[in-house]
């Protein structure tokens, strides 16, 4: 009668009813008359907390540990008492900032960190998969047991069954299908599923009823009430032990830890967060929930002990798994309908949990794992796709399927290693790691993103080490020595007796160490680090949420602005065009504006769009998408790097400039010095020119004057006429001489003079000079004496004409200064050290030592004032000096006033003209 197909049919019928309830709920919600806006519905929906673990597993736990099954329900009871403060805050935050999942909550709080969202999602999935697999185990197990009615057969090992015969696989697939149907028909900005909540409330009633009925049957049907069961149980020693705390080996410590653990789990389990926070419609519902939910828990646990005790007594020695008592007891009593109802109750418990949990997980996977990656993959060009809502939904569907498949795989691989409750507690311990981040996040402004990531990672690592790995060891995947002796034989690192902490059961042990690591590292890293601006803003928004009144659209962090024309299509892509337009319309009306197009493009609008979008793709991704539209977004890391780069380039450039300007200064100083020198030379040249001009003009004056006089006046007497003409002639000659000498000196000084250097006999040269000057001497009646004979004299290399010029110059100078009749000029020669020396001595007035150098200056003439203006050009000596120096010699004068003057020069003997050296000085004496 209870054949397989009957059971399947009933099961599908039940699920159909469930679906109908959900559908009705959704329809009523769309019509605006929500059926779930009701605190009773809310409280009932919270009961999704009770899964097959509660339905089947509690009895199993009670059978081994007596009332040790209770802490898991004490915890929520206690926690709910605090809910008016904690849960209300969480709900307010979630509603205000459009948070859609527990990963979204944590990542939002800590600066909308995508990293944190990813981490939470991964931990949630890893932690909850065992929990899902235990539902599969329970449902498939109960199906298998029921199928064998009236025989009571325990389900065989899952691994023994080939996959295609495995009912669990089909159950998993069916659950996937239903979850997709329930949860992914459309995208809602708030991620609320009114129909789902209605269905969950419905199934909570069903499972409660189912358990109560079975419990009542066992207590009052099989036995005669509670009193009899306990009385009978007392007689069995083992059972008596179960009923007291001390004898069951339960320590207060274990109770304490488990209670604490379940207190956390009632908040941190993804399905609990979804149902109690995200799906909440009104904060006030919490008031009723605070006592309704514990009442439910009480009711569903009332009959656990009686069933356990009754089962153990009735099935003593038959090897019936205590986890199945709820089903097998009615079966054993041939109550088909009851057994079927019990099965449906269990199915209800399992599907409720799986559906809600998987929807919550798939939302997180989609928003926090997949979408951020896809948004970054440029070639997908997600920005250009008009409607992304279909993509989002399909991602979620795949996620749901994937998660359920993973649950199935876990079931096949490790399903037998643990009893149901133990598996569940492992999941609790995993999601409990979220608690420090959440509770710290809403009460402590100092928590930083890095602290949360570090704490979460540390806690999860400890959990994995102390619970997950040991579960692998117990399943045989790791050597047992890993547990008994620790890794690599280090006893202090034994996974379940870390650092020697023994005496705790594995759950408590894990909880202790993981919470220590999690909270400790979270606090330390948070205190040691600094928050970003976004983090600080988010922290304030979270911690102070009650102080801020209804201001869900305010977000002071947005500095930019974008137009409605841009935001509307963006929202439309993710939410669907209609929903986006509705949302904007509602917002516009709230702002007192008729149409969205008239909305001002300001930071509030942007914040509004961001929160709307967060509902679809999560807070972090929403921020990124909106930021790509908004102008004046804060610079990203790339831009900051560019700015820094530029800054350092500018610095390097300015250093170069500094250096160049220093070099420039140095060059300028040099130039200035050179300029001064040139100016000096220029002035000297000017002086020379001016002097030359003056000297040239003087004879010209006479020439012109007398010429004009003679021309003008024909009456001038002949003697005077002759006189004047003579002056003209003489001045002309003077002028010519001057011009010649100036030119000569110029040529010599500029190096453009021609030198015809040959070997000369000095005697010859002197003879020639004497001869040329003889007339002058005769006229002046000055005696000239020379020692140069007619024999061959010393030989020098020189230009003949020039040397003659020098000698004539010296001689004529001498003549000019000598008194007529008394004058005597002597030429002397001498040879020494390879040099020829010639002296021209006169007995004139002499030259004072002060003027010894002056005589050699251009145009300077030193003369006796008594004799009038000195004759001559003043250029003779300078020219002579240059000539002598050109041939490697030197010309100087020795004289004293009143003692005559001796002009001397030396020339190297038969050596080509070379620069004078130290020998010259020596020869000069």
């Amino acid at each position: 009668m209870l054949q397989g197909w009957v059971i399947v049919l009933v099961a599908f019928a039940y699920l159909g009813v469930l679906f109908a309830v959900a559908y009705y709920g959704d329809k009523r919600a769309e019509a605006g008359r929500s059926i779930i806006a009701n605190p009773y519905i809310y409280a009932l929906s919270l009961a999704v907390y009770c899964s097959t673990w509660t339905f089947y597993g509690s009895v199993g736990r009670a059978a081994s540990t007596g009332i040790g099954f209770l802490p898991v329900y004490l915890g929520p009871t206690l926690m709910v008492a605090l809910w008016w403060y904690t849960m209300r805050k969480i709900i307010r935050i979630t509603k205000a900032y459009r948070i859609t999942s527990i990963a979204d909550f944590i990542s939002s709080r800590y600066g909308k960190s995508q990293m944190l969202g990813r981490l939470v999602t991964v931990i949630a999935v890893i932690g909850v998969i065992p929990y899902i697999s235990l539902q599969l185990k329970a449902i498939s197990g109960s199906f298998t047991i029921l199928r064998h009615y009236p025989r009571i057969v325990m389900p065989t090992q899952a691994v023994a069954q080939p996959i295609l015969n495995d009912t669990a696989l089909y159950i998993a697939l069916m659950l996937a299908a239903f979850t997709i149907l329930f949860g992914t028909r459309h995208l809602d900005a708030t991620e609320r599923h009114e129909g789902l909540v209605a269905a969950i409330a419905f199934e909570s009633v069903v499972k409660l009823l189912g358990f109560l009925v079975v419990g009542a049957f066992v207590t009052f049907g099989i036995y005669r009430g509670f009193g009899e069961i306990f009385r009978l149980a007392q007689q069995v020693p083992r059972l008596r032990a179960l009923m007291t705390v001390a004898d069951t080996g339960n320590t207060y410590g274990t109770w304490g830890f488990l209670t604490f653990l379940s207190m956390l789990s009632i908040v941190t389990l993804p399905r609990q967060f979804q149902i109690s926070v995200v799906e909440n419609v009104d904060e006030d519902h919490l008031r009723k929930a605070i006592w309704l939910f514990p009442l439910y828990l009480f009711l569903i646990n009332v009959f656990v002990l009686p069933i356990a005790l009754g089962g153990m007594m009735l099935f003593a020695g038959r090897g019936v798994d205590a986890d199945t008592f709820v089903l097998t007891l009615p079966m054993a009593q041939q109550k088909e309908a009851l057994a079927l109802f019990a099965f449906i109750g269990g199915l209800s418990a399992g599907t409720g949990m799986v559906i809600v949990e998987t929807i919550a997980l798939s939302t997180m996977v989609c928003n926090d794992l997949v979408m951020p990656v896809l948004l970054r993959v440029k070639w997908l060009r997600l920005n250009e796709r008009p409607d992304l809502s279909r993509l989002l939904l399909s991602i979620r569907r795949w996620a749901i399927t994937g998660i359920l498949m993973l649950g199935y795989i876990h079931f096949r691989a490790a399903g037998e290693a643990y009893a149901l409750v133990a598996t569940g507690l492992i999941s609790f311990a995993a999601v409990a790691q979220f608690a420090p981040a959440i509770f710290g996040g809403i009460y402590w402004r100092g928590g930083t993103r890095d602290g949360a990531i570090a704490g979460l990672s540390a806690g999860f690592a400890v959990w994995a080490y102390t619970l997950l790995l040991p579960s692998f060891a117990k399943s045989g995947w790791l050597p047992a020595s890993f547990l008994t002796e620790g890794p690599f034989g280090i006893p202090l690192l034994k996974p379940q007796q870390l650092f020697g902490l023994s005496g705790l059961d594995e759950i408590s042990h894990c909880l202790f160490w993981s919470m220590l690591a999690n909270i400790g590292i979270h606090v330390v890293v948070s205190l040691a680090g600094r928050q970003s601006i976004t983090e600080t803003g988010q922290a304030t928004m979270f911690v102070d949420v009650f102080r801020r009144t209804q201001a869900p659209e305010r977000s002071g962090l947005w500095r930019g602005s974008a137009a409605v024309e841009d935001l509307l299509p963006l929202l439309g892509r993710f939410l669907g065009p209609d929903r986006a337009r509705e949302a904007f319309l509602a917002y516009a009306r709230r702002r007192g504006v008729d149409s969205p197009e008239q909305l001002r493009a300001d930071a509030d609008l942007v914040a509004f769009a961001e929160t709307q979008l967060a509902g679809a793709i999560g807070g972090a991704s929403a921020r990124v998408m909106v930021a790509s539209l908004v102008q004046e977004q804060p610079p990203g890391l790339d831009e900051v790097m560019d700015i820094l780069d530029e800054a350092s380039q500018v610095r390097a450039y300015s250093r170069q400039l500094e250096q160049k300007s220093r070099e420039l200064e140095a060059a300028t100083a040099e130039l200035r010095a050179a300029n001064k020198l040139l100016q000096e030379l220029d002035r000297m040249k000017d002086d020379f020119m001016s002097t030359v001009t003056h000297e040239l003009r003087t004879p010209l004056t006479s020439i012109r004057a007398f010429s004009e006089i003679l021309l003008e006046d024909p009456e001038i007497h002949l003697p005077e006429r002759k006189r004047f003409l003579a002056i003209i002639v003489k001045e002309t000659q003077r002028l010519t001489r001057l011009i010649n000498q100036v030119l000569d000196l110029s040529k010599i000084e500029s190096g453009s003079a021609e030198w015809h250097t040959t070997e000369l006999d000095v005697h010859e040269v002197i003879r020639e000079s004497v001869e040329t000057s003889s007339q002058l001497f005769r006229e002046s009646r000055v005696e000239l004496v020379t020692s140069a004979g007619t024999d061959a004299g010393p030989r020098v290399m020189a230009d003949r004409d020039r040397l003659v010029q020098v000698l004539i110059n010296l001689l004529s100078n001498a003549v000019k200064v000598c008194r007529p009749g008394e004058g005597r000029v002597e030429i002397r020669l001498a040879v020494s050290n390879g040099f020829l020396r010639v002296d021209v001595q006169d007995n004139g007035p002499g030259i004072s030592p002060a003027d010894h150098e002056t005589v050699f200056e251009k145009f300077r003439q030193v003369g006796d004032t008594l004799t009038g203006k000195p004759k001559g050009t003043g250029l003779g000596l300078p020219i002579s000096r240059r000539i002598v120096e050109h041939f490697g010699g030197r010309l100087w004068v020795e004289s004293e006033l009143g003692k005559g003057a001796t002009f001397s020069f030396i020339l190297p003997l038969e050596v080509p003209a070379a620069k004078a050296g130290p020998e010259l000085a020596q020869a000069a004496g």
Partner: protein, 124 residues
């Protein structure tokens, strides 16, 4: 009463030409061949006009001019600077020191005579 002209010039030939020119015009001529002698000559008998060369031994013509102008006795005396130095700065300097005329050598005899006559003709 003829006008007296003092020629201050150290080039002998130029002195001859100037002397001839001035005497021909009927002026009395005195000669000094350096600056100091010039001042002494002026002190002895103030001339009506001084033909003053600049490049003089002992004291150059600028100084002489300055000294002559400094003395109130010789305010009315005409000073004609006669020099081969023709740069504008020199001209300006000469005029600034109070010369009545600045003539560069070589000069035109006709012009010089005309200008001297004019200077001496005006005023008595």
């Amino acid at each position: 009463m003829g006008k007296r002209i003092l020629i201050v010039e150290d080039e002998p030939n130029i002195v001859i030409s100037l002397e001839f020119l001035m005497k021909r015009e009927g002026f009395e001529v005195e000669v000094a061949t350096d600056g100091e002698a010039a001042l002494m000559a002026v002190g002895e008998s103030a001339p009506d006009l001084v033909l003053l060369d600049i490049m003089l031994p002992k004291m150059n013509g600028f100084e002489v001019c300055q000294k002559l102008r400094a003395d109130p006795r010789w305010r009315g005396m005409k000073i004609v600077m006669l020099t081969a130095k023709g740069r504008e700065t020199e001209v300006a300097k000469g005029m600034a020191l109070g010369a009545d005329l600045y003539v560069t050598k070589p000069f035109s005899t006709k012009d010089l005579v005309a200008q001297v006559k004019e200077l001496l003709g005006s005023g008595t």
